[in-house]
Symmetry: C2
Subunit: 237 residues, 2 copies
């Protein structure tokens, strides 16, 4: 089994993924929010790239909830922004949500064609790795990044996943997987401090979402693994 | 002063660099060889992208030495391959060399338009950082990577440079700079071991160039800083 990391969705575009399980990470905050929603009983999440696409789709499929942000701020008229703390059981249980976020949606869509696309985060790290290993395929961890630039928090989580995936048995790691593992090992005892100095972490602090930063690092809080299949994100059972 | 890292030359293509000092790294082995050549008295090195360009240029400028590799192997008929140990004083003093390497040449050329382009490596790490700081500009460390993929050894060296550049005073670091610094701090006491497991390191071991791997990690062996200016690499005095 080969373990690789793409630091950005654009690095995925030329890859042949039919024999690969992808794990998508957008720690601040799309994939953390998706995992939390699915854990709280959300039936399905449909990721779309634009606000326009969200409205067009809603017109087709009827009453629905909208989630999404631009520049970390909730889109006007939407039911949810992109804070994982918003997606509580009383609001999402048995619901379908159309979601559009700046980076996370694009990262998920970049993996179309993969054998499987799983949604990862710190909060379901162990669960997503256990699930990914079961497929016995190559694994590509796809970091969403931020506006086309490398994101520290995504890569730190990728390093944790590399550690969990390579725990037993022989695995082939690419240089990017080895690099992220080194990064995680150096940073694992000071994740929140590092995040506070990162570009996205600073932005969340600036808009007063320190609670989100702390939540997004709650490693192994949840045991669910969302899967992106047929254009929807559902629980991977 | 802002410190940034591009993990690959293609990440540089859209940047406006006129107010930026670039430090190019191709640890295995182009920039290590260039620094060594200049330290051994080589007058200038002209990087070109193709073997054809090398011959065309030689026809124009007359008797000259050729250096270059493809897939880590010396190009047929060339005077040097890409091992830094080949560029000894008796062979390079006062000479001009036309060089074409798989990744290093492209990385150097990607920085055209920068305020300055300096050639870095572990062997001149401190010297290149001291020189780069003197310009009082933003600094972009450009990793050559390997065939368009992230290289661990280049990024580890980039992390060392970030540490040296941020030693004193307030600096703004991007996420990629912070990430490489974490990587270097975790790896610094086992660089050769990590390199032996990296893609390029394995290749050098496979072709019996363990001596190159060890040489390329001899941090601060040399005090020279080559500069790429007007299409040539010369000593930056």
């Amino acid at each position: 089994m080969r373990i690789d990391i793409a630091f950005l969705p654009k690095d995925v575009s030329k890859l042949e993924l039919s024999n690969t399980v992808c794990i998508v990470l957008d720690i601040f905050r799309a994939t953390t929010s998706i995992v939390t929603s699915i854990a709280n009983g959300c039936k399905s999440i449909i990721p779309v790239l634009s606000i326009e696409d969200a409205h067009t789709l809603a017109d087709q499929i009827g009453p629905i909830l909208f989630a999404g942000e631009r520049q970390s701020i909730k889109i006007e008229g939407f039911d949810f922004g992109n804070s994982p703390l918003e997606f509580s059981q009383d609001k999402v249980q048995d619901k379908t949500i159309i979601m559009t976020t700046t980076n996370g949606t694009a990262a998920i869509k970049a993996t179309e064609g993969a054998h499987r696309t799983l949604i990862g985060s710190f909060v379901n790290a162990k669960a997503v790795c256990l699930q990914a290993k079961q497929y016995e395929k190559n694994i590509l961890i796809v970091c969403a990044g931020t506006d086309g630039l490398f994101s520290l928090e995504d890569t730190l989580c990728a390093g944790l996943l590399v550690q969990l995936l390579t725990g037993e048995g022989e695995r082939i790691m690419t240089d990017s997987a080895r690099g992220a593992l080194l990064m995680y090992n150096e940073g694992k005892d000071k994740l929140i401090q590092i995040a506070a100095e990162s570009r996205n972490g600073k932005r969340l602090y600036d808009i007063g979402r320190m609670d989100d930063v702390e939540y997004c690092f709650r490693t192994d809080l949840l045991a669910v693994v969302p899967q992106y299949i047929g254009g929807r994100i559902i629980l991977d059972k």
